[in-house]
């Protein structure tokens, strides 16, 4: 039987990063996915690496470390994945919005986020097509962007060069355990044995936990993105409304939208995103698209005649408390969860992988990881 030190289930952004870190730690690693690489949520989102949308706390610390790690990774991996220091711009119009944004950015600044407050003139100098009616904004130079599909492909390419194995089209059907310790997986392409399994299956992570006799409350939160036809540069940064931050933090199941606008290297502009809890539903209401386009126009009136050629959607993997789940399962030994990153899994992937690699190899983590522990759901069992 095929045997390795670690099996990673899931070849998305989280799985790919864990794979590279673990093989660099000297372990033999096999990545298994039921489909092709980066076929899950990773291919259905945007590629933002954000610090601007996070409140001071454990997630912001993870994000700050992860952003650094992305640039280190780009040097290590070598191959191109369109990593760019794009810079984020949060804008506000109402008095309330402006004062909230001022408070928020001041607090972020104390936690190590670089912020620049911009008045009307400065704002329109760095983002000339922004609506003239918007008086105030905060610029976050650390916010960055990459192409997630290329990112996964380049990282896994490096991983394979280091001797790692990637098995695609192999669905994990069951997890083998012995005295509450994992011993391997049974897949549609045969059995693989290992004493360590990393559960990097995103929104489907609950199913894997279930297979091992444990439990993980991960559910999907759907998001839509509009894609324009290639357009001469109207949008220079990643621009969004202060409301977005409130939406991200909200626990509501109802539809929420607030436009997050960014150009990509291919010339298209991406307009994200909505948040709603509708399971894995693929039917949708055009109201979602309409609201996004109205909000986009409120920020950039110059988009009026630009064509939307495509829309797509994906499912963010979220935990009830909206924090990632990183660490060993509370019941099953050797089962390591790396999921629940919701709308930030691209940005948070390298730091997540560092934590997983440190924990599996028994090393100290550089930060306090207890807020991410799967044990916080142990009482659900």
């Amino acid at each position: 039987m095929d045997s390795s030190d670690v099996i990673i289930i899931g070849a998305g952004m989280i799985g790919a990063n864990c794979a590279l870190r673990l093989i660099q730690s000297g372990l033999s690693v096999t990545v298994i996915d039921r489909g092709a690489i980066s076929g899950g949520t990773t291919s259905a989102g945007e590629g933002n690496i954000l610090v601007s949308d996070k409140d001071p706390g454990p997630e912001l610390s993870l994000a700050l470390r992860s952003r650094e790690a992305w640039f280190e990774l780009a040097d290590e991996v070598g191959g191109e994945f369109e990593l760019e220091k794009k810079g984020g711009l949060i804008v506000a119009k109402s008095e309330q919005g402006i004062s909230d944004l001022k408070v928020q950015s001041a607090r972020q600044s104390q936690s190590g986020v670089i912020v620049h407050q911009l008045d009307h003139a400065e704002l329109h100098e760095i983002e000339p097509h922004l609506s003239n009616e918007i008086p105030y904004g905060v610029y976050y130079p650390q916010d960055s962007q990459l192409n997630p599909m290329l990112g996964v492909a380049q990282i896994l390419k490096k991983f394979r060069e280091l001797g790692g194995k990637v098995v695609t089209e192999a669905k994990v059907l069951s997890i083998s355990t012995d005295a509450m310790s994992v011993t391997g997986v049974v897949t549609s392409k045969g059995e693989f044995s290992s004493r360590n399994i990393v559960n990097a299956t995103g929104t489907w992570a609950g199913e894997i936990a279930e297979m091992a006799g444990s439990h993980l409350p991960i559910a999907p939160r759907r998001g839509f993105i509009l894609v324009t036809a290639p357009t001469p540069s109207v949008v220079r940064h990643k621009v969004y409304d202060a409301d977005y931050v409130a939406n991200v933090a909200s626990g509501s199941a109802d539809l929420q939208t607030s436009a997050v606008i960014e150009g990509t290297r291919s010339g298209t502009i991406l307009i994200g995103s909505s948040r709603e809890r509708v399971g894995y539903s693929t039917t949708f209401d055009v109201r979602i698209l309409r609201k996004l386009s109205e909000q986009a126009l409120a920020l950039f009136p110059a988009l009026r005649k630009v064509q939307i050629m495509r829309a797509y959607f994906g499912f963010r993997p979220y935990a009830p408390d909206h924090l990632p789940v990183i660490g060993e399962d509370a019941r099953v030994k050797g089962l390591w969860h790396a999921t629940g990153h919701e709308g930030a899994g691209i940005g948070l992937a390298p730091a997540t992988a560092e934590i997983i690699a440190a924990q599996i190899t028994g090393k100290d983590c550089l930060m306090d990881v207890s807020p991410f522990s799967p044990a916080r759901f142990a009482h659900d069992l």
Partner: protein, 448 residues
């Protein structure tokens, strides 16, 4: 009210039969007038007799209303009701109905080959639309190539309008017809049509050559098409040794049959099937009803079958949607006969897999995003793509303005040939899905 989407042969026949069965009908058509691909025209005088008769019957029926220049960009189905989002006068409007007939037709199937992105290379459909719709002859010296019965009428039409036809190349050899001769004979009108084309070919001194294909388009100094390279090809479309020659021309019209326009059907979520030749179409029952109650489909989107079959299917769909229980047996017999003919026809004009051998490393596969063959191959060998979707995500092929309508199928074929990973029906069908059926501006979307 019954809503019919598409004013081609299928849509017109559907609207008319439903109206005659006392139902109220609304026809929604993206173009400025009825006729579809087949009866594309600038005014009724330019139509043949059948076309003129059908168009005026539909136009004058008191039970039928029309929305022209109205493009449906998205459709949804919930609880037995279809909602259509129609772009009209710069605004998106909603229409809802419990009886929907889809007759959205097909577009030309293209294959990539070296030089196909040079100005002057077009599809026969485009050449024909220019001619029928605007009276424009696409070029002075035209080469027509590809496969399928449609090449003949296009050549004759262009010759009649004064173009010089520099060559007419059908990639399948004519011998292919023999196994299906019987079917053709049972379709007397088709046979007559075929014979009349033979006469016209003679009259305009058009030399039809079977078993030849245009394998490269060549650019002149000004960047425009100057000539094409033609080769004799075998059954699989492999180039035969020492058979190549060059022909000068300013337009190449090349097409490989048709691909059904499934965008709206896909939005609604009707069941699709993948045929043995790899093409995808809508599944319907004998009454043209799809897997969704109250949603009917007729014409090319149920499988490529030509204008006559499209009309018969339309008539059946219209009657069923109108709730007419006394559907005449005649229609079903007619449909069966025409469908048999259509199958025989498509069997006579298959697309061999070795067109892929005509490609070079630098040949562009996706024109919108300018993705070359070598980039597609690298996404597989270098970046680990294992199927059409992952190769698309890594190269952006099919993610441009046409949303893969032009290159999607060829791209998937190329990826399959390189990975050996043959897509199952479900993933081929998924690959063809598009949540937005046609582009819409922010203003149009927001302002509705």
């Amino acid at each position: 009210m019954i809503i019919v989407v598409g004013g081609g042969p299928a849509g017109m026949a559907a609207a008319l039969s439903a109206a005659q069965a006392n139902s109220k009908v609304m026809v929604v058509e993206a173009g400025p007038r009825l006729g579809g691909q087949y009866w594309r025209h600038s005014s009724v005088e330019h139509l043949d007799q059948d076309g003129a008769k059908l168009v005026s019957a539909v136009m004058s029926h008191p039970n039928i209303e029309f929305l022209f220049n109205a493009r449906i960009w998205r459709a949804d189905y919930r609880d037995g009701e279809s909602t259509l989002h129609v772009l009209i006068f710069g605004k998106s409007r909603e229409l809802t109905t419990k009886k929907l007939i889809l007759a959205t037709g097909a577009f030309d199937r293209t294959l990539p080959f070296p030089g196909w992105d040079i100005p002057g290379v077009m599809t026969p459909g485009a050449a024909q639309s220019l001619l029928k719709g605007s009276g424009i002859v696409a070029g002075k010296r035209i080469v027509i190539a590809g496969t399928g019965p449609f090449l003949l009428p296009v050549s004759v039409g262009l010759a009649k309008a004064g173009a010089q036809i520099a060559g007419l190349y059908e990639a399948n050899s004519r011998n292919r017809w023999f196994p299906h001769a019987l079917t053709v004979m049972r379709n007397a009108p088709k046979l007559r049509l075929a014979l009349s084309f033979q006469r016209e070919l003679k009259r305009y001194q058009l030399r039809f050559r079977g078993g030849y294909a245009v394998v490269e388009a060549l650019k002149g100094d000004e960047g425009l098409l100057e000539a094409v390279r033609v080769a004799k090809v075998d059954k699989e479309f492999g180039i035969m040794a020492n058979s190549e020659f060059v022909i000068k021309c300013d337009v190449l019209a090349v097409g490989w049959g048709f691909t059904a326009d499934l965008s709206l059907a896909g939005n609604l979520g009707v069941e699709f099937k993948k045929d043995s030749d790899g093409s995808i179409s809508v599944v319907v029952d004998q009454f043209q009803e799809t897997s969704l109650t109250g949603v009917f489909a007729a014409g090319e989107l149920t499988g490529i079958g030509g204008a006559e079959l499209a009309q018969v299917e339309g008539e059946i769909a219209g009657l069923t949607a109108a709730g007419n229980v006394n559907r005449p047996k005649r229609l079903h017999r007619l449909k069966k006969r025409k469908a048999t003919f259509a199958r025989a026809l498509s069997a006579a004009y298959p697309v061999g897999n070795k067109w892929m051998e005509w490609l070079r490393e630098s040949t562009i596969i996706c024109r919108c995003e300018e993705v070359s063959l070598s980039e597609v191959e690298k996404s597989i060998s270098n970046l680990g793509a294992t199927d059409a979707r992952s190769a698309k995500l890594l190269t952006r092929a099919g993610m441009g303005l046409c949303q893969g309508r032009i290159c999607g199928r060829s791209f998937a074929d190329i990826v399959e040939s390189r990975t050996g990973n043959v897509a199952n029906d479900e993933s081929s069908i998924k690959f063809a899905a598009r949540p937005i059926a046609s582009p819409i501006t922010f203003e149009e979307l927001a302002g509705s």
